[in-house]
Symmetry: C2
Subunit: 190 residues, 2 copies
Amino acid sequence: MNPYFTSVEPEKAYRLINHGPATLVSASHDGIENVMAASWVCGLDFTPAKLTVVLDKSAYTRQLIEKSNKFIIQVPNAKQAEMVHYLGTHSKANEQDKLSHSDVECFYVEGIDQPFVSGCSAWLYCELIPLEANQRDHDLFIGEVKAAWADSRIFQDGHWLFESAGDEWRSLHYIAGKHFYKIGEVLDVE
Amino acid sequence: MNPYFTSVEPEKAYRLINHGPATLVSASHDGIENVMAASWVCGLDFTPAKLTVVLDKSAYTRQLIEKSNKFIIQVPNAKQAEMVHYLGTHSKANEQDKLSHSDVECFYVEGIDQPFVSGCSAWLYCELIPLEANQRDHDLFIGEVKAAWADSRIFQDGHWLFESAGDEWRSLHYIAGKHFYKIGEVLDVE
């Protein structure tokens, strides 16, 4: 286990995704794991913490989530950019070995039967709030964040450490094609 | 009129918000305008382009949108950070002169009765897709992007120009309190 894997207070979990990073969505059902990339992940509420995630009907991970009603949202970082892009452009529906091809390594946390992706900056364990019309009509899923963690080398005491951590820890912000931006410099207003 | 105010193809409008910037939400009804800041704005679909926005029940702008069924999502930039923070921490509900206090200037586009905030990097004109349960239970609003524009000094031909434009044009990514990050360097995968 990564010794820097540290619990984040639920009421501060929104800060892990508030700046709009590209994410990884992972889920498992009946022994089958998958991981996909998703940019359309967004805060929805503070207490209890909730978020939205858009999952296309073609996404294999969506099928797992519809069965398990659980998933993990990860915040990956710059050193994982190639992996994130691979996970966002290949589907397990037609590539059964997607995860091994993409160099994803998963780990598990006691009491949670969903896969966590190693090497990320943050993890939010969510339980689905099933809303069939949203899911069917808009591919829109709502999750309640039941627990969250971060790597303490990049997020500590409720604050990102982008200013002091290495460049490889910066979050990824996706535009289109093969084109990301890394998060940049801090700007504190007065 | 800003001579750099340039139409963006609807199918590329998602790129204006895909990287998760803090936004400004503006609306007008019956001659009353307002502008608020919102981080929880997220892509929902490509064609037709749709987005989600979370609007708290205490937000005055929400009342305007519920009446007009229309609104504008703006992508502000680093030179507007103080204004963005002011607009996100003051409500017209108890400060009638909020807009003049915050130095917001609005302009109008022919055929659209909603206010555009001057000096932003991008604008998405949306019509509300009313879904009462989402709005009531989750403060979650869905808009269809009917038209979009960008300042051609920072977004051109479907691409952000953060690499070459001045630092003052960088998008803002909000964490909490008075704490933003600017978007950073490009990262293109292979």
